[in-house]
């Protein structure tokens, strides 16, 4: 029997009061969340860079849209996407055989990636790299983008399948993470050793973070939590960690793809002329001419729609298929009506509205602010081009010659600058024979110039990135979703604010490291390897739940706010710091939170050990 409870009558005035209070609370939370990054960027631009805001009204509207978007999006996630995913995770294992659960988890992973709109960001960066410098990147992005997306989808799908299996069977998450990470690092080294696949290494790591976006991450977290509820013993990770696997899966699949596909492209060259001298390049370009660019259909296809419709379409594409898939799983395989169906439908509408406002607001508000600051941030440390000093009465007879291995001899002369004798190659175009003057170009390298900067400027420059990462991440809705889940899982013993602050600080420091890497043009792998080896060592010794949280938080930190904001600033910076590898900025941003949280987890583990010893010593 199912008795129908009496519905309470609420007057319109009371309804209005309730909705007003509710809306005010939700919006004020988001105003607080984005106020730091907004005020910070505005102050930085106006006071430090001394540049007026380009279009204050449009930026204000954009920022208001971000606030509304975050409020609707998060509420929608908590009302519908997360409870539905949790229900699917909790009910599937008891209703279906293991194999069906795993297949559905796999398909959910693929679908989640296909619906992910953030992949367009990678395209934007890839477009800024000329073909001759990274032919494989150019080839994959412009002609084989479907294969790339499939590789990402497979990576995420297999990772979610493995994650579900380890949660249900209580296998060690640590072993899975360490194995996948070692595989990714090995593949990175293999890909790095060949100059054709080298530019793909940083891309693969960034793609891992981007493939799991705003809707996918909460869905995976809730699905894992649901799976964990059904198991006999708490899986050692409490159902967390699947996001990490979903990040590492695409890293491996894209690296594998680059290793397989590098045989189809010629070797890169520093300039187009030398690239074209390679006969392989010629054949390659001829092959490209016969192929139809795929990207035109995937990226530019929506040009005919207005901007608003475009954003709405993106929001529906990101949310619709996933929710539909969840609903189908619940209806066909679980055959159980979720509680409060009206609430779930409203939640889906909120999620779509939220996603729409969020995308619109980020593009017209936050990204514009980021772009203005990003394209000018380098001016803090950029030294004005040193005036070429002129040597008068230059005596050409003082030239000396140095013999090169190929038998040629190069002229040079000695000069004393700041008490140091330097050997300067003689260049004829700098010599004016009539006036007997020689125009001396700057003798210092770029690295020396940067190192010679006053520390205050350098600190301000790096500090900008630390606070940029911090501000972006504290507003990140996916991180809030993870923090909420964790709070639910531990009954509040893991404070939400603490997690968000630690991750935000970590991302900030990681971005600063990324900038230093770009300034000194250190190969991405040389920075990544030591950081990840350190993270691996910490992982081995850390407590399982904290470990899963640390790795998940890293994947979650690069969400819908951080990715476009950081990438916009990164692209602006790229114009001044022409690093060979322009990807990898996001990955480095996501690495430091892992180290911070794992270090905290070691402390927790030591406390637990002390407690256990206290009992043993009775």
């Amino acid at each position: 029997m199912k008795a129908k409870a009496n519905r309470i009558y609420i007057t319109p005035r009371q309804s209005l009061a309730l909705v007003h209070g509710y809306g005010k609370k939700k919006i004020s939370e988001q105003v607080r969340a984005i106020s730091f990054i907004t005020i910070y960027l505005i102050i930085f631009q106006i006071i430090i860079l001394n540049i007026p805001l380009s279009n204050p009204i449009s930026i204000f509207i954009g920022l208001s849209a971000v606030v509304l978007g975050l409020a609707f999006f998060l509420e929608g996630l908590f009302l519908s996407v997360m409870p539905l995913a949790e229900m699917a995770g909790a009910e599937l294992p008891s209703k279906m055989p293991l194999i069906i659960t795993l297949i559905l988890a796999f398909l959910l992973g693929i679908l989640a990636t296909l619906a992910e709109p953030a992949m367009v960001v990678l395209q934007e960066v890839a477009n800024s790299i000329p073909m001759h410098q990274a032919p494989l990147l150019y080839y994959i992005f412009n002609y084989k983008s479907v294969i790339l997306i499939m590789a990402l989808g497979l990576g995420v799908g297999i990772a979610i399948l493995l994650g579900s299996l380890l949660t249900l069977r209580n296998f060690s998450l640590k072993t899975f993470i360490i194995s996948l990470l070692l595989l990714a690092l090995t593949l990175s080294i293999i890909a790095y050793l060949d100059e054709r696949s080298r530019p793909m290494v940083a891309l693969a790591w960034d793609a891992g973070g981007i493939a799991t976006g705003a809707v996918t991450v909460p869905l995976i977290i809730a699905f894992g939590l649901g799976l964990n509820r059904t198991t006999e013993n708490d899986s050692e990770s409490n159902g967390l960690g699947i996001v990490t696997l979903a990040n590492l899966g695409p890293v491996n699949s894209v690296l594998l793809l680059s290793i397989i596909m590098r045989s189809f492209v010629p070797h890169p060259a520093a300039d187009l002329e030398s690239f074209l001298t390679n006969p392989e390049a010629f054949t390659f370009i001829e092959t490209l001419d016969t192929m139809q660019a795929e990207v035109a259909t995937t990226i530019d296809g929506a040009k005919e729609f207005s901007f608003f419709l475009d954003q709405l379409k993106a929001a529906i594409t990101a949310v619709g298929p996933l929710v539909l898939a969840l609903a189908l799983i619940i209806m066909i395989f679980i055959r159980k009506r979720p509680n409060f169906v009206d609430e779930k439908v409203l939640g889906v509408i909120f999620t779509i509205i939220g996603m729409f406002f969020l995308n619109y607001g980020i593009q017209t508000g936050l990204t514009v602010l980021g772009r203005d600051v990003g394209s000018n941030i380098y001016s803090i440390i950029a030294k004005e081009e040193p005036a070429t000093s002129t040597i008068h009465n230059f005596d050409i007879n003082t030239l000396e010659y140095i013999l090169r291995p190929n038998g040629e001899s190069t002229p040079f002369f000695k000069i004393s600058i700041s008490g140091r004798v330097q050997h300067i190659p003689f260049e004829e175009e700098n010599y004016d024979a009539q006036t007997k003057t020689y125009h001396l170009a700057s003798t210092t390298t770029r690295l020396e110039q940067e190192l010679n900067q006053p520390w205050s400027k350098m600190l301000l420059f790096l500090g900008f990135f630390i606070l940029l990462g911090f501000g972006g991440v504290i507003a990140e809705p996916t991180l809030h979703a993870l923090a909420n889940t964790l709070s639910e899982l531990t009954a509040g013993s893991f404070p939400k604010a603490q997690l968000i602050q630690q991750v935000a600080l970590g991302v900030g420091i990681g971005l600063a490291i990324g900038v230093i890497r770009m300034m000194w043009d250190v190969p991405f792998l040389f920075v990544l390897l030591p950081l990840y080896i350190f993270a691996l060592i910490l992982t081995i010794f850390s407590e399982s739940t904290y470990m899963a949280v640390a790795w998940d938080a890293a994947g979650v930190a690069t969400g819908p706010i951080t990715v476009p904001l950081v990438m916009t600033v990164g692209i602006g910076l790229n114009q001044h710091l022409p690093s060979e590898e322009q990807f990898g900025f996001l990955t480095l941003g996501a690495t430091i939170p892992i180290l911070i949280l794992l270090t905290v987890s070691l402390k927790a583990k030591m406390q637990q050990k002390r407690l256990q010893q206290a009992g043993d010593a009775k």
Binding site: I10, A90, G615
Partner: protein
């Protein structure tokens, strides 16, 4: 359907000790164990830059198992000994009398020869109450801080979901957060009046919808005395000293003298109720609350738990370990009607219901 007169043993254990706790309950062949996660709060060492007490949370596991009366002290002895509950910081345990309505409950025979009844009774406190406050999410730490600053033990806090008026509001329900925090504090009955008054005042129970405060009697209890994070410079923590005195005095009554004068001026009112806990699968709370509201109930709290059965018999839903409990507090007549109705007219299998727990409580209001 049978009614089993049992004792419910509630064990609050530091989360780091969960594996050995489950192992112990497995050894004891407990047929009905429910597990949920909670937290306790403690006062960290004072720092010169921090002039206010700031509490720190620690994850705990809350385990409940149903035990026949003849095994109660044996269980309590085993738990206290094997899990070293005399060491501060490891956990608390208490037992209370309940009725359990279920089609299947049978405890395996245990060899209780090792039971030292006099010793365990000396170690355990009697005349204890358990105070429960259901409040809005994120409010419990304020109450916890007040209790700790007044020298009371650390309460256990866990999450729940409110299923009362909210679910009868249509879509407008989303404007009212359903998330609740449930604070539980075991305390000597002579102190309970003061603590109830303190909590009622701080939770503003004089205003409607601000919380639900109850207490009920316990049979035995061994409470965790740890309230401060250790200062390593001391040879023994204050909690170790208190715990030693508790053991010597055979209870915690010796501590009450400081607060009795305030407790005498309590203006609180009480209402005798019956608390029913419906245990079943996901979704059982919605089905039960609808029936309870029809019969005159006003509110319910849903909590998600994990179920274990270490005895010979599993319950009807052994394919999953996820359970949902729905707590409703009703006056005696309505509670009897509800039990009767659920037993006679409801298909338990269909709504996923496996057991109903019943015990008396006292609601306190300002």
């Amino acid at each position: 359907m049978h009614v089993h007169k049992l004792t419910k043993i509630t064990l609050i254990i530091n989360h780091a000790l969960i594996e050995e706790t489950l192992h112990l309950l497995q050894e004891l062949k407990s047929p009905y164990v429910l597990l949920q996660i909670g937290r306790s709060t403690m006062i960290p060492p004072q720092r010169f830059w921090r002039n206010r007490i700031k509490i720190k949370d620690e994850q705990q596991s809350i385990l409940e198992c149903y035990v026949p009366y003849d095994l109660e002290l044996f269980y309590l002895q085993k738990i206290t000994d094997e899990l070293s509950l005399l060491t501060p910081g490891r956990g608390s345990v208490w037992s209370q009398a309940v009725n359990l309505y279920t089609s299947l409950y049978e405890h395996a025979e245990l060899d209780t020869n090792s039971l030292k009844k006099a010793v365990i009774e000396q170690l355990l406190s009697t005349e204890m109450h358990i105070i429960t406050l259901v409040s809005a999410r994120d409010e419990a730490n304020v109450f916890s801080q007040t209790l700790l600053s007044k020298g009371y033990p650390s309460p256990i806090i866990h999450y729940g979901t409110g299923m009362g008026t909210r679910s009868r509001m249509g879509l407008l329900r989303i404007t009212i957060p359903p998330e609740k925090e449930i604070l539980r504090l075991p305390i000597h009955y002579k102190d309970s009046r003061f603590v109830l008054q303190l909590l009622a005042h701080q939770a503003r129970l004089d205003l409607p919808g601000k919380g639900f405060l109850t207490h009920c009697e316990l049979r035995y209890a061994k409470i965790n005395t740890k309230t401060h994070i250790d200062d390593p410079s001391r040879l023994a923590s204050i909690e170790q000293i208190i715990s030693a005195i508790d053991t010597l005095q055979g209870g915690i009554e010796w501590r009450r003298k400081h607060i009795e004068p305030i407790a005498q001026s309590s203006p609180l009112k009480e209402n005798a109720l019956i608390e029913l806990t419906f245990i079943g699968l996901r979704g059982v709370s919605e089905a039960i609350t609808q029936i309870a509201f029809e019969l005159g109930g006003r509110g319910a709290t849903m909590v998600r738990k994990r179920f274990y059965s270490f005895g010979a018999y599993k319950d009807e839903f052994s394919e999953t370990h996820e359970r949902e409990t729905c707590n409703v507090a009703l006056n005696g007549d309505i509670a009897s009607k509800l039990i009767l109705h659920v037993i006679q007219y409801v298909n338990w299998q269909e709504i996923g219901l496996s057991a109903i727990e019943e015990h008396p409580i006292h609601q306190t209001f300002a």
